[in-house]
Amino acid sequence: MTPNMTLDPETKTREVSVFDHLELLSEMGRDFTSSRDMAASLLKAVTHITEYVRADGGALFLLDKSGENLICEACVGATEITGLTVPSDQGIVGRSVQNHSAEIVRDVQNDSSFYNKIDQKTGFKTRSIICAPLRVKDERIGALELINKRSDDGLFSDEDLRLLEAMSASAGLAIHNARQAEALVEQEVLARELELAAEIQRSLLPDARDDDFPVHGVNIPARTVSGDFYDYFELEDGRICFNLGDVSGKGMNAALLMAKTASLFRCLGKTIHQPGRLMALINDEICETSSRGMFVTMIGGIFDPRSGIVRIANAGHEPALFFDHDGVCTPFEAEAPPLGITTFLADGDRYPENEFNIGEGSFYIFTDGVTEGYLADGSELEVEGLTKILMDGRDKSAAARLNDVVDVIQSSGKPIRDDTTLLCLEQKSGPLVTESVEIITAANVDQAIEIISLEIPSQPDRLKLVRNFVTQAAGFCDCSDDMTQDVVIAVDEALQNVIRHAYGNRPDGEIQIKLFRTDVNFIVLIQDFADTIDVTKIKPRDLNDVRPGGLGTHFIREVMDEVAFLTPPEGRGNLLKLVKRIA
């Protein structure tokens, strides 16, 4: 501070005080912007101002988030009231905040707004108050209050009030700026966390595979994180599990439920190979722990690249579409509610399943973000539009076709409306994955123990013997009665198929039955030496169609955890593997 010696004393005082004032304001501003400690900056400001106006005490009140209370955030001199909360429409400080006006009360005893409880508590004698609101435009922030002028009469002047008003305006702005800076930092932290969440979420999606892999998918989130998901993975026997789902809602809560559902599917899907049963278990989990009425629509399935058989369950999801070789479309509608709604299922412990042979066709699952995606003219893509893009791209690779769909939705010029996710399944031509007996033993049964084996001629009267034999063997392996019953049913039905279909009821065919067990599985291998049958023609029938026959294959698939045709060791006949989990 450099006093100007050429000015007359009165002007000099005013000049100095303005200069001091400016100095104080700039210091306050610097303090708020440089310090991360808001409370310390507030205290510093109150101390400076109280000192500057020469008051006994000063207090700075800020409105809480609800705007209903004023809280003393910093206090100096007189009495310590930091933390004191007063209703925002009471007291002199409340009046100042509500009216956006500076208040001077020369003698508090004559002002009915005076909040005298503090004086009563502390024994301090408040005589005079000046109070000015802290605000930026119309936004109320709080108020600065000074108590008792340090002078003979202890009373504030109008000059003091104007000074306080000016300094409060600056302090208000400084607090406002500091808060905004803080919010900005918080936003950046949130954005960074969201980006991390999105990265983790992307890592839950499977890696894209070569064109000759049967499954391809694409997922474009509408926001940073997505409520949609898809996944596929290979089982040890070469079959492929796949799914596509859509969590109700968007944003972080949907993303978290998505992560949970996708993880459950991947984890349980490795041991439970019946999509309907698998999804029922996931449903149980989600129902048990879901909150806020969130649910998941999902289609889960299993595909056997050797036979081309696809087995799916649809839990409340958009119909999946199957286009056969001639482009004829079959929709697979949901026959059960989404996951997370109810544990009561019409089919008991599983979601209803559908099975079909994919042949040379293509199977598509997608979320409503696809069909409700905007086109350039503002209309929605809908199933018709989607069908057209997929049909037009028939000669392209599956991945290219899915990208065509995404391109159309993304090039509408409008932001994507909803998470957009598609999955395509196709049987790839060329040599199919083949397995031999050696691979089974290596793949499933690292420590497989052969229990017993048996050879029978292809004659129906031997079935009862085999049933007894399997019953005894399952009991030997500690299978429960129910499990034993299931294994017996499966073996009996499989043998019927061999006798009737593979050997055409010829009585002189040879059938070998071998039983193994591991720690967790009871495994049956059934081999015949008839002509190799076309496994693609074996399919369970629609049970809604009540008619005799065709039930055997359905029974086998229903009761066993795994059913697969393998390449027989000498390339002759048929080799069926049936697996029942013991645990």
């Binding site: 129906p460 079935l463 009862k464 049933r467 019927q496 009540v546 039930l551």
Partner: protein
Amino acid sequence: MKHEVREEVGGFVVAFEGDVDLQTSPDARKVLLECVGRGKSVVVDLSGIGYIDSSGVASLVESFQAARKGGQNLVLASVSDGALRVLKLARLNKVFTICDSVEDGLAAIG
């Protein structure tokens, strides 16, 4: 598998004993279709059944459909747990009328 057919006021009661499988289901089918062919309703007593496979279930379904076609009824009685498991696998437990006893079965077709 053995079988026994007796005629009651409301219709025939056909009781099987043993296993109804690929070996024996053709016989079961024949017996059931014959009874249905005689124009009466049938109660199939499954209390003596040890095992029934898909071919046995197919015989039941075929006879049931033949009975319905002729305006008759075919109900199952005293279904063992094993047989019920197989009927449930085929989702036929809701298609057939399943009665606790032959008497209930006769009441159901009467």
